[in-house]
Symmetry: C2
Subunit: 193 residues, 2 copies
Amino acid sequence: MSDRIPNDVRTSRMRGALMDSARNLFLEQGFAKTSTPQIVKAAGVTRGALYHHFADKTALFLGVLEREAENVALRIDGAIRPETTPLDALRDGAGAYIAAMSVPGRTRLMLIEAPAVLGAEPAARIDEDHARAALREGLEAARKAGQIGDVPLDALTAVLSAAFDGAALAVADGVPKKDATTAILAVIDGLRS
Amino acid sequence: MSDRIPNDVRTSRMRGALMDSARNLFLEQGFAKTSTPQIVKAAGVTRGALYHHFADKTALFLGVLEREAENVALRIDGAIRPETTPLDALRDGAGAYIAAMSVPGRTRLMLIEAPAVLGAEPAARIDEDHARAALREGLEAARKAGQIGDVPLDALTAVLSAAFDGAALAVADGVPKKDATTAILAVIDGLRS
DNA sequence: GGGTAAAACATGCAGACTGTATGTATCTAG
DNA sequence: CTAGATACATACAGTCTGCATGTTTTACCC
């Protein structure tokens, strides 16, 4: 045949297709209720392909999750104007985070299922590499600028990150986005010293 | 045999034994990695008994979870002295919550797996009936007393509840309990108007 | 207190899923 | 062009969940 496809592009296409199908199904049904036969059927391939490219079902989930986290982090970075004060940057970032999380099913995927499927610490590590890193740097900058008091940074990052997640989940549960944003901003502003 | 046992006590004993075994295994291994054969083996009965008393595996999990949430709520209520101001009561409650959550595996069970297994809203409803109710009332009282500003209560409750959870999870992940408490108290104190 | 209905439990079975082992086609490199 | 590696398909073993069907124990009524 004349349609020779190099192995590397073949691989990346297959991995992409599997992750696309998996992402859609995970967003709709969640991880547990999505079976590998369903995923490969939606992608038009067989389970052999899946298990050739991913060690197991959770490895596929991990891949999906990392792409998702990157997209969220991108939207946050895009929302932060460089000339603002650290605390105002946090405020902007909070709004962008809530907005980015309003993609249907995304809160369940990233905030509910990821820790359950991968374990709390591995899931936190993914967040650590993306949105949470921005949060921690923001807090550090705010403290160096004297905008917030002397609170242990690791703990404060964890607590605030969870507060952001709570706001996003509340929105997904029907709380008006405006109210959730008001609440998060009240918490951030409260840190001001 | 002379050891006739009335059905109601038989039922409550069996349900209790199953929930005890399940709780231990869930705390150790998590929900997904705990099989019903394991649970009934630890309880010294068969799967028939389990499926006679519980509709399915998640119903058993629900029972375990409700008992756990009650115990946590009890410890919080016990820590709040009635004569304190609303905001100080919140501070005491926060400490008690973090302490109550330090039972090994409890954060994973209640904060990680419960939303994943039961869904975010049903899990929140359980919390709503226990610890979260106290939080909301505390916030309402603090606002009526003029201690905190005018922030939408539902949203603020959700955000703060998540912040508490984040503190408890951070402790389970190795953050010093003292640091986590400091961070949570900083957030609570920040609400003071 | 005997006997029937109902509840409590045990056993056996069907369907589905995950992960792996093995087979075949396609690509790569010398 | 050919040997070997890589990509994928097919087939299989083991395990799990939920249900259906048995057996035993308790409840109730005459």
